[in-house]
Subunit: 617 residues, 2 copies
């Protein structure tokens, strides 16, 4: 479920927790004098969305006026679906100040989309009022929205051509969908109840779409597809190579991704019972290569030195120009890039993390097929990209697999022995990224892997490692391996080469944040918060990740998983004109750092491959 | 030929006159101490275009630097085609101040088109300069033009998709065609020498197009076509009726006019040897009905009370959206309307007349199929439309015809008798508008027509009219007529019904300007200048027109024919971004007056039908 708290949005697995528990887990401490027992009534929050019914405890502590305003006790209310916490009193705020209003930003996320709908009732034409049809509509609109420039607002030919027909059905009550500068639709009657937008996160592997009610701000449907371009290669370079073959292959990739978006739009519309022409705006986040391919842009220069793409700023157009099946005059906004491969997915994640509004020093780490890092310090932002991803997605790992059913997702070694957690239970079929990180961290802890990443052969373990564990270390012509699981049918092991892959990946990430810190003039120990974007961040064992040095060595509670932050950011931008602007400013102001250009990168990388806690610091 | 002098443009028949003579005729007096004999050298002007060679007199008076700047003596230089006088010293200016620079407005007409071309040479990408392709181009452009917003300028998908290919051909020298807000083209190399626009005047009967070199401001070709929509009726009401039959018929009218524009564009491009993709902007002037039909808009409500159209403001779009064959991302601007049927042709004519910049009180009269009137007084503008046209175009006149070969275009009665002037000479085939006005004015003067418009029967003429003239008045079952010409094959006569038609037309016009004056709170005698737009204004006998009361009774030299002022205005708007803005302001600020709504209209009309000089005043 999606829980928005103040400026931040969190994707939280439903577990029947109270709001107070959820908020604590994401790092927001409420004032709970009675420690959540419901006796003090101090933990008032204003919340909307899907929640458990009022408890008797709440009815005792809340006035009917408070109940009318959506006030609940955080220690009592249990979210049962998406909800928005718009005001709360955090621990340490002035006594008696029960509710701190949400920041302006958060309020705009809820209610200020780029595409607005307004009902106008212009007077019918008469001999003493011969204004043109369009003028009388825009005059009425400008009365409601003084920012509308009646003489300049862009109105499509289609809208103009159908205007007399629209008016004949309207009885002079009309709904205008518009952005202020641009009129998208003029509809007969009051259609403000049907006001939707779609947000997309186009990943190299997966495309996710969200249908959002732009008037309430709530998500009404979600749908996803495998990116059909995987047929031309799982990784970006294969696709760029394919795309560069001919104009036709570039067009094939474009058309495939557009079809996927339209399939998702159809599914979203049908799930929510919404007509396609009531969807007025799409926002899109994706890496540079994905958004280039969506726009049919040549990507070949992205793959060769000096790695320069065609365009990085936001792309605004009528969605029909790209072939999307929403309202024929609806808009599309492809969010802006920071630079190089650091695309709008990272910008969207940074918006979801509220990075541009944060004081202090935070690191955003988005681990997908690539690894993108954004460091914000003193409101200055630095970003870089590393080729970190494949190991975490199971590629190039001997028994690697994606984080799906059958994957070992967690590994623990205790005095009782080795224990594995397998997704959906049952016998393991392979190991996924979080399992890999866990396994290496645990083997490191018990001394089966040394600080150089060497998997010690059985002979070296005698006497200093528990014999039951040591017996799992095997050596043959394939080298040394640690057997995680075996039965008569299969064996799942960690190989020396797997450890090396993980070292390369975590070394690249650690070198990345180390260089970002150096550019910001700080030490890695000054990072006070790490945001983890991407599904991987939800599953990774934070202790293990810190132990192997792939995350800065900070307290676990300051490591905040955001889930699909790119999708969340795209949804937030759909809901807030101000956030669209902020995404532009963020993308334009963030300083893009090409690691390959940094003279210290090789040293940092070699150093960071070692397994020493804080090795990169 | 087209001669532009300062802010005004004149269409002047070529007659071998010197510039000084031409300028005097249009009311601009130069300081000519030697009275044009070429001895003082004071009448220096800066002029470009097609002119006679330098005379020996000029070579004596002008320095080589002056010659290099395009300075000529107005008493010596004879235009041989279109030209532009950009600076001159008018009589009465300070002694010694040889050249007065043109007004800011005039300079902008010459050199400040909406669509500009700039050459940029951005640095090639490098590892220490990884800006996206578009960014580096827009960064360079913004250095030249600080008004360009690098992050917001609209760039089409087509331009983005072809950018890498363009760059590969460019060696990093590129020409950008843009408006500041919108990039139209990015071309390899320096293409500033190929920078064209097209201006159209879409008349109900005739469509005229002009190809203009946007860098020099000169017209390079002109072409025209009969409006193919005439197949659905000569007049607007027939076409509206046809258009209202079905969506298909509306589409047929749209597609016909677009084809005519494309035919004209092809002819213009081929005459001037210009590639279609070097034409970046089209401006269009036309009456409300014509521009609605070009945009495919429903016109049915224009024909029924309260006569309201779909849209009156300027329409801006990519020309390809309308199907025009210019640069695929080129722009079209359909100029704005004032109200009702008073369309962008009238706005363009008002711009050509410089109406919005004038002090004093001026009347613009545009006589086409309809008659449009604009009165400006104290910078306030009033406009109305009358159904005046058919009589002047020969329709509903027994022997009427258009102003083409064989038409009687002038009629004079002297003591020697009746004399006729026939277009292209030879025997007359009919009578056109200017001949009709002349004939009625002369017959009125000699007393054959009385002040009520009655053609006196032969019996009433005896004794008071020259017998030779009186013998031309015949009476039979068709009523009374005046025989202008007869031979064994044909007779061309003026019938009583023709006089009535002219009375209706001139009555409508005179009632129109009378009511405009009343709304401005002035008397018609306060009008100091009358501008006549349309070809008719070039041919009409001003004395005759004043005598019959269809023009206000002012000095002939204050009646200024502008020729095809709508076309001229469309060209001027093409050449000047500021004029485009001024057209918007003019259209928005002019007060549209529906004559049918004015309670005094019927009285004014009845009164103005009479033949009394100044009857309408």
């Amino acid at each position: 479920m999606i829980v928005r708290i103040g400026p931040n949005t969190f994707e939280i697995e439903y577990e029947g927790k109270t709001l107070a528990q959820m908020m604590r887990e994401v790092g927001i401490s409420l004032d709970l004098p009675c420690n959540g027992r419901g006796t003090c009534g101090k933990c008032k929050v204003r919340v909307s969305g899907q929640l458990s019914d009022l408890t008797d405890t709440e009815k005792r502590h809340l006035s009917s006026s408070e109940i009318g305003q959506g006030i609940r006790l955080a220690c009592q209310a249990v979210p049962t679906g998406d909800c928005v916490v718009s005001a709360y009193s955090s621990a340490g705020s002035a006594a008696g100040n029960i509710l701190v209003e949400g920041t302006p930003m958060q309020q705009q996320v809820v209610s200020q989309p780029l595409v607005k709908k307004d009902v106008v009732s212009p007077p019918a034409p008469a001999m003493d009022d011969q204004r043109y049809h369009l003028d009388r509509i825009l005059d009425s609109l400008a009365e409601l929205r003084p920012s509308v420039d009646r003489r300049k607002a862009n109105v499509s030919l289609g809208t103009l051509q159908s205007l007399p027909d629209t008016l004949s059905k309207s009885d002079w009550q009309l709904t205008v969908a518009h952005t202020g500068d641009c009129v998208i639709a003029v509809e007969p009657g009051d259609t403000t109840g049907e006001h939707y937008g779609a947000a997309f996160d186009i990943g190299t592997t997966t495309v996710v779409g969200y249908l959002v009610d732009l008037s309430s701000g709530s998500q009404v449907a979600v749908a996803s597809r495998t990116n059909p371009q995987v047929a031309h290669g799982a990784d970006l370079i294969s696709r760029i190579t394919y795309s560069s073959q001919s104009v036709e292959s570039r067009e094939a990739l474009r058309s495939e991704i557009v079809s996927a978006l339209n399939d998702i739009l159809n599914e979203l519309a049908s799930k929510a019972g919404v007509a396609a022409n009531r969807i007025y705006h799409c926002t899109v986040a994706g890496n540079t290569c994905m958004t280039h391919m969506l726009l049919g842009l040549d990507t070949s220069s992205l793959a060769t030195m000096p790695y320069v793409g065609v365009m990085g700023r936001a792309y605004h157009d009528r969605a029909s120009q790209l072939g999307l099946n929403i309202h024929p005059d609806g808009l599309i906004t492809v969010l802006p890039n920071i630079g190089g491969f650091i695309g709008s997915d990272t910008v969207a994640a940074a918006i979801a993390a509220g990075l541009d509004g944060r004081s202090g020093t935070s690191l955003l780490l988005d681990l997908g097929t690539n690894g993108e890092l954004v460091l914000v310090h003193d409101r200055e932002m630095f970003a870089c990209s590393t080729a970190a991803g494949p190991a975490f997605e199971g590629a190039q790992i001997v028994h690697g697999m994606r984080g799906s059913a059958g994957a070992i997702e967690a590994v623990a070694i205790s005095p009782k022995g080795l224990s594995l957690r397998v997704i959906n239970g049952g016998e393991p079929m392979g190991i996924c990224g979080s399992g890999l990180v866990d396994a290496v961290a645990e083997l490191l802890r018990v001394g089966i892997i040394d600080f150089t990443g060497r998997l010690c052969p059985p002979l070296e373990l005698a006497g200093r490692v528990d014999p039951a564990l040591a017996s799992r270390v095997k050596e043959d012509e394939r080298g040394v391996r640690f057997v995680l699981f075996s039965n008569s049918e299969r064996e799942i092991s960690l190989f020396q080469s797997d450890v090396r892959q993980l070292q390369l990946a975590k070394g690249a990430i650690a070198a990345g944040f180390s260089i970002l810190c150096k550019r910001a003039g700080i030490s890695c120990s000054e990072i006070d918060t790490v945001f983890l974007a991407g599904a991987f961040g939800n599953y990774i064992n934070k202790t293990a990740a810190v132990r192997i040095g792939m995350l800065p060595g900070i307290d676990e509670e300051r490591i905040v998983p955001l889930g699909n932050a790119a999708g969340t950011g795209a949804k937030m931008a759909l809901l807030s004109e101000e956030l669209l602007d902020r995404a532009d400013r963020l993308a334009a102001s963030a300083i893009y750092i090409e690691l390959g250009n940094d003279p210290t990168f090789q040293d940092e990388f070699m150093n960071a491959m070692m397994f020493m806690e804080g090795a990169a610091g």
